[in-house]
Symmetry: C2
Subunit: 313 residues, 2 copies
């Protein structure tokens, strides 16, 4: 629209890395990742992971977003985990092709002191709050004018590179927000203007519910053990809640990884989304060339380019 008339606040850190603009790489996404130099991976801090333990040794690891997004909710989540608030709560809702949700089924458990309240405006952030060196352009999108990857996370924005793909960056006044993909973790809430505290969390177990973007706080993503949530029996009453209390799945323990003994801490790393390997990987996801594919799609939606996360041996 009028983007070209406004001062540009951000420029693309690595213009050559835009999806579809790299030289064709004959390798599969898996082969590209296997060949990635160590310098293209970044370790996830123990302070940025939640470890949820269900009965039977089922462990789910959630990576929290950079606090640039959802700052107050993520602060609350750290407070709740430190207070061991989720211990003894449960997974109460599993709705097919939608979400698995956990928290206090009684809705009466007292919350720890010191939680913050967020406003609906906090579902998005000013583009100026982002570190421009960390922004890489994402694919075309049906829901938002532009998409990006930022510090390993898929995000959307209301302004982008408006001139036919020329790298322009955000314009003044732009907002950015995290998007809902498979595995995204968000904050359950009541109807507006309630924004939730972070005590009630869900993860996406179906097709990306992108209509939730900017309507709910996104705070993280499941990086290990999502099968322990996605394969749970579906709830049979409204919205997939379990009909009987005994169907709920008890949460034995939920901690920040940094609160666990060192030997018990998970160790993970993600592929830096402003790295050379990322550009090759994202392009390969859009243009599968391995023996199985006869017709490369030539494109991929932002949720079909999952940011690689792997355990550190």
């Amino acid at each position: 629209m009028f983007a070209s008339l406004l001062p540009l606040l951000f420029v693309q850190a690595a213009a050559a890395q835009a999806i579809g603009r790299t030289q064709p790489d004959p390798r599969s996404p898996t082969e590209i990742l296997a060949a990635a130099p160590t310098s293209d991976w970044r370790q996830i801090a123990a302070e940025d992971m939640l470890v949820m333990e269900l009965a039977g040794g089922r462990r789910v690891v959630v990576q929290l977003m950079p606090v640039t997004f959802a700052r107050a909710w993520i602060g609350n989540i750290r407070t709740l985990a430190t207070a061991e608030w989720w211990d003894g709560t449960s997974i109460n809702r599993v709705q097919d092709n939608y979400v698995a949700q956990w928290g206090d089924a009684s809705e009466k458990k007292p919350l720890p002191p010191g939680l913050s309240t967020s406003s609906e405006a906090d579902y998005t952030v000013a583009a100026t709050s982002l570190d421009q060196r960390e922004i890489t352009r994402g694919p075309a999108d049906v829901y938002a004018r532009a998409t990006y990857f930022y510090r390993g996370w898929p995000i959307a924005g209301d302004e982008g590179w408006p001139n036919g793909g020329v790298q322009k960056g955000f314009v003044r006044g732009s907002r950015a927000w995290p998007v809902h993909c498979y595995g995204t973790v968000g904050v359950g809430r009541d109807v507006s203007p309630n924004t939730g505290t972070g005590a009630e969390l869900y993860t996406v177990i179906g097709h990306a519910p992108r209509h939730l973007d900017r309507n709910i706080a996104v705070v993280g993503r499941v990086i290990a053990g999502i099968e322990h949530l996605s394969s749970l029996p579906r709830g049979t009453v409204g919205l997939g809640f379990y009909a009987r209390p005994e169907q709920r799945v008890p949460i034995e323990r939920l901690r920040l990884a940094s609160a666990l003994p060192v030997a018990e801490r998970p160790r993970f790393e993600y592929l830096a989304t402003n790295s050379p390997t990322w550009a090759r990987y994202a392009s390969a996801r859009a243009n599968r060339k391995d023996a199985f594919f006869i017709q490369p799609a030539g494109a991929a939606d932002i949720c079909n380019i999952p940011v690689p996360v792997r355990a550190i041996p």
Copy 2:
């Protein structure tokens, strides 16, 4: 591109029904469906449904596509069901955020006589083979130049309404193909040029794997009981196959609904995608206005506008 220079073979049956072009409707998608006249629904023929029964009374119903698409594979599937070929086979693969797959794990069970072989060209059909009265425009798409709904099915095409949204229809030489959404049923196959017989089937249990479009035959969708597949334990060896034979889920019986006694046949109907209700429903899916939403997306991808299917009482 050059579409406007070529003769137009198809025109939109109901131009006013294009998504986003209707008058705003304050109702939710659920309210719109509840108010739909009977004439906007169409019963699914018993010949077009497969009924798969797993142990424990778990019943999965698959609706087959109109044979305009995947004609030979769907013919094979009818032959296989009539031969009761799947009875005693099993669900052998459940890969998280991808597919649940069933068939003969031994890969040695003889196939019934009379199966046809398809070519890769059959993954798409000529737009001229479609009934123009049944075509309704679908939403913008990342993967294909255009999308449509056809007889209750989401499809994509390589030409569409190219002039900024003006209703133009397909141009000569256009191809159309079904798309992979949550619940889509497709035909497992080996590497190219193998196209599969239809004996090995899968359904999507995660984010739409649209990169499979035009690479695999789409033959149907699960319209009831998908939770019996999506909540199965994930397989732990390559591609989500079960490691041990006893983990496989036996298929007790798989039949065309028309082969069942009348009293046992499922009865379903779908919302006609060229009906007035469809236009309102699709628009409401893209612009949620119920109390929960504060920021309507203003758009929906084709897999987030699932065609309503409901049991007939």
